[in-house]
């Protein structure tokens, strides 16, 4: 294996140059070599809670300044660590090079002081992070950081970025378990932090490691209440089910579990051809940005166009506009998928044998497809829609769309905004977690709750000082 990438283990300001374990790549991608985390378990865990004290020797402003200084150093073209992470991701990620490059290029901006300060203020409250806040006479509250393991997702590199920022803002100690489809981005950030400020408390409270999820020997030692207080788990049902086996009193599990997102488009879209064109362009963003690799991407699109013959004609016309708009998205945001899901292709191919029920636009190769249902039902494989394949479902009334929302729904893009306002409470009752103007699904605000919870508050320990 000549093309093994070396992925260093970073433990609290120290780079461990040990590459004794090899992990094969997935589906023809690069494998990589890294240290055997089992050999370093004693250093990876933070045994003494008092070791968190150094984080309180710095002010909140210093945290913001540190991050602001770090951001520009993460520029893809000037930072060799980031460049290596990008190179490895080109092989491991489902995103095409042009999209990956764009994603990496947006990383520095996430560290800007205006951005990070707003995140801290809106998601926790700077006062609570910085000191004891009086809530009434005698009662004061402060948000303290915690020792947490973060099992992050690798579908987009920004997950690791957000984790580093959140860890710093909450003055926490993070052990990031990297995913095999993006093993290097978080590591590259940690390496850059070490080069910038090796002794800084924020540098000294970040560990980035890879171990194979399910390594029970390692995980049993790691997930002990004396070592950690929180587990932040992104990702698939299996990984979350697996982690839940380690839960016990003293360990808090914060799940950002797999979700699906959708779209509801009201009859107003058909007011004029220009309007329909513009609605299709917006929906194309929700479907196609980052090649539909995110949980925020639209998959099933409910369209209030009627279900009679003329309704169906409208749905087909919209489907064609949407397909064209997806194909015309800029290369930095969306491309034909470089590893089109073969199982999905089989499902799409099968639809031509049931042409009374569906119209398929595209789907010949890896370009993506729009499947127009002829009845008010999504395709059976709606959960597996990916690689820029979306399903337009014609409906008579918005009620059908509302009923389709459940506990597995995350974002819903809605057109027009007046419809969003009218049905937002009901969508929330059903289980939806984020309601957004059509076209904005892939641009979630960093300073608002996520998946119906407030992960930053949950990452903190909320301590009460009660004078009676």
């Amino acid at each position: 294996m000549t093309d093994l990438f070396e992925v260093p283990l970073v433990i609290r300001g120290r780079v461990v140059d040990d590459y004794s374990r090899q992990f094969p790549g997935r589906m023809g991608s690069h494998g990589f070599a890294t240290a055997d985390a089992n050999d370093y378990i004693e250093q990876i865990v933070l045994n003494r809670p008092s070791d968190m004290a150094d984080l309180y020797s710095i002010s909140f402003d210093e945290i913001i300044e540190y991050l602001a200084e770090l951001g520009p150093r993460l520029a893809l073209d000037s930072n060799p660590h980031m460049h290596r992470a990008f190179e490895l991701s080109r092989s491991t990620s489902g995103l095409s090079d042009s999209i990956l490059r764009y994603a990496y290029e947006t990383i520095p901006a996430a560290f800007a002081s205006s951005e990070t300060r707003r995140v801290a203020e809106n998601l926790v409250g700077v006062d609570y992070l910085e000191g004891w806040v009086k809530v009434r006479d005698g009662v004061r509250v402060r948000a303290f950081g915690s020792r947490a393991v973060h099992i992050i997702a690798g579908n987009v590199p920004l997950v690791g970025v957000a984790t580093v920022i959140r860890n710093a803002l909450t003055r926490s100690d993070a052990v990031i378990k990297t995913p095999s489809n993006d093993p290097l981005t978080s590591t590259a950030i940690a390496q850059t932090m070490i080069e910038m400020a090796p002794e800084h408390p924020l540098t000294r409270h970040l560990t980035v490691a890879y171990w194979k999820g399910g390594d029970e020997v390692f995980e049993q030692q790691l997930y002990q209440p004396r070592h950690i207080e929180k587990i932040v788990a992104w990702g698939g049902f299996n990984s979350i089910k697996h982690i839940s086996a380690y839960l016990q009193p003293g360990i808090d599990l914060i799940t950002l579990d797999p979700k699906q997102s959708g779209t509801i488009i009201g009859a107003e879209a058909f007011d004029s051809p220009q309007r329909l064109q513009s609605v299709a362009a917006k929906a194309a963003m929700d479907v196609g940005v980052f090649n539909q690799e995110g949980c925020v991407n639209a998959r099933v699109i409910y369209l209030v166009c009627g279900t009679d013959a003329s309704g169906l004609e409208k749905a087909r016309a919209f489907g064609q506009l949407l397909f064209d708009a997806v194909q015309n998205l800029p290369q930095s945001l969306s491309t034909p998928h470089k590893r089109f899901d073969a199982a999905l292709k089989d499902e799409v191919d099968a639809l031509r044998f049931v042409e009374d029920e569906y119209t398929v636009i595209g789907g010949r190769g890896n370009e993506g497809a729009i499947i127009v249902s002829h009845e008010s039902e999504a395709v059976d494989f709606a959960r597996d829609l990916a690689c820029r394949v979306a399903n337009v479902v014609p409906i008579d009334s918005v009620e059908t769309a509302i009923k389709s929302v459940n506990a597995y729904t995350q974002t819903i893009g809605i057109y027009p905004d007046s419809l969003k306002d009218a049905i937002r409470d009901r969508l929330a009752f059903q289980g939806a977690q984020r309601l957004v103007s059509l076209g904005g699904a892939c641009n979630p605000p960093a300073d608002a709750p996520q998946d119906g919870i407030e992960p930053l508050r949950r990452m903190c320990k909320w301590i009460v000082d009660d004078t009676q």
């Binding site: 589906m27 049902f237 199982a343 089989d346």
Partner: protein, 471 residues
């Protein structure tokens, strides 16, 4: 072209009447030309009769088969026989399901009125009564069943091929002719049902002279297609952590009392089954036809009861089915044969969509009869690998034995195909597959097919779910 091949070209069904062994004595140089001619003829014969084939060939611009690449372009994807929407079952739209099926068979189903059916079982019964079709189903990952539109005659031919194989595989007349000399028949499963293996067994029983007196089944009744579908849906939903999303059709809920009764009748029979097998057929030569996994479960149970060497030395076992989703210990075959007490076994690679199985030889190769034209496709591009050398990829084929449905199919299995320019060490000529076969969905770490008859616990769970839901 030698006489044997011209005879198959005239009518592939002659494969049954001619000696089985002849099919494995064809020079590689002759096989290619025969395959192409036979594919050409079959396509020309079915193109205008099977609507789905006509549509696909029009889309692909294939008017006739002039080379193997033309054929590849008109093979059906493995999803074809379950391409209907699941809502047809959930909402009892059996009229629509019939119309969908009509596109996949050369038979005319336009006169069938299935609008009154309220369950899958009822629909299958209706087709049994009103048509020549004897549909069999398999279980898909989502609980959506594949429905294969095979006729009664085709189903019979499957069993005639099996008879030939048992008689002649190890040399002409080395095995019994199970039609001329019926043997007691034992099936550690349901007596019947529409599930592929059970449907085949049910039709075989008639042909092979199986009577109530000389047979034994684990469960004396038929397996419900509705329950099989529900079992699959539950497993799929659980695998995704979405158990809350299962909806039941009213037809299924209404039938719950029937299921309760069946469960009551069934429970005690596992222990009875083994006692009866020993008492009734102990020491006698019998015919067993089952999957390895079902047999392993049964023989493990036998071992726990201290039972071994159950049957006579001339017994016949036909098995296959890999070990789908099962983790078997290293000594699984020992456990099976110690329990059985004989070792005449025929192991086959096959799938419901194919009428002839591929028997394995003593050198560990599955031999492909000349009536199946195999291809190995690149799993990414779908293009055919050359018909020479040895290649690993997605298995696809044209089954020449089908008459009323298109036998061209792209499977979900990864296989290694050889034999174009070298023969197997066993001395048989022709093409063969390596025994290392796996499903692509397994390889990619996905959920595999749910083999519902091999997993009674899934079945029990479905019944339990149904009962809870009905309360």
């Amino acid at each position: 072209m030698k006489h044997y091949l011209s005879s198959l070209l005239a009518d592939p069904k002659n494969f049954i009447a001619l000696r089985y062994g002849e099919g494995f004595d064809i020079e590689d140089s002759e096989l290619g030309e025969f395959h192409l001619q036979a594919a050409k003829k079959k396509f020309a014969g079915l193109r205008d009769k099977v609507k789905a084939l006509k549509r696909l060939s029009e889309e692909q611009g294939v008017e006739e088969i002039s080379c193997f690449d033309d054929l590849i372009r008109v093979l059906f994807p493995h999803t074809v026989y379950k391409s209907y929407p699941l809502s047809f079952l959930e909402k009892s739209r059996f009229d629509k399901l019939t119309k969908w099926l009509d596109g996949l068979t050369a038979l005319d189903l336009s006169h069938i009125d299935a609008s009154g059916c309220t369950s899958i079982d009822e629909w299958l019964d209706l087709l049994d009564v009103q048509t020549e079709l004897r549909i069999s189903h398999s279980a898909g990952t989502t609980g959506k069943l594949s429905f294969l539109p095979r006729t009664r005659q085709e189903a019979e031919n499957v069993n005639l091929i099996l008879r030939d194989m048992i008689r002649d595989w190890y040399g002409d007349d080395t095995g019994p002719d199970l039609i001329e000399t019926p043997m007691p028949y034992i099936q550690p499963s349901y007596k019947g049902g529409y599930y592929t293996m059970l449907r085949g067994a049910e039709l075989r029983a008639e042909l092979f002279g199986v009577t109530d007196e000389n047979s034994l089944y684990l469960y004396p009744d038929r397996m419900s297609a509705d329950v099989c579908s529900l079992a699959g849906r539950i497993r799929a939903a659980e695998a995704k952590g979405e158990s809350g999303s299962i909806e039941l059709s009213p037809g299924l809920v209404n039938k719950r009392d029937q299921f309760i009764q069946r469960e009551k009748d069934k429970k005690e029979s596992v222990s009875e089954f083994f006692q009866q097998a020993v008492e009734k057929f102990g020491g006698r030569s019998v015919f067993l036809c089952t999957t390895w996994t079902m047999l392993y479960d049964a023989m493990l149970e036998a071992r726990e009861r201290g039972i071994d060497n159950i049957f006579g030395k001339d017994s016949v076992l036909v098995s296959g089915g890999g070990n789908k989703g099962y983790d078997l210990p290293d000594d699984w075959k020992e456990i099976i044969f110690r329990g059985l007490g004989f070792d005449r076994a025929y192991e086959l690679y096959g799938m419901s969509e194919m009428m002839s199985g591929f028997p394995v030889c003593e050198h560990g190769h599955y031999h492909i009869p000349p009536v199946v034209i195999p291809f190995v496709l690149d799993p990414i591009t779908g293009e055919s690998m050359p018909r020479s050398g040895t290649h690993t990829g997605r298995f696809a084929f044209l089954d020449l034995m089908t008459e009323t449905y298109w036998g061209g199919f792209i499977s979900g299995d990864e296989v290694t195909l050889s034999g174009f320019d070298d023969d197997c060490a066993c001395g048989r000529k022709g093409l063969f597959l390596d025994t290392a076969i796996r499903r692509y969905s397994e390889k990619e770490g996905g959920d595999d097919k749910i083999n519902c008859s091999g997993a009674p616990e899934a079945h029990d769970k479905a019944i339990e779910f149904l009962l809870n839901a009905a309360q």
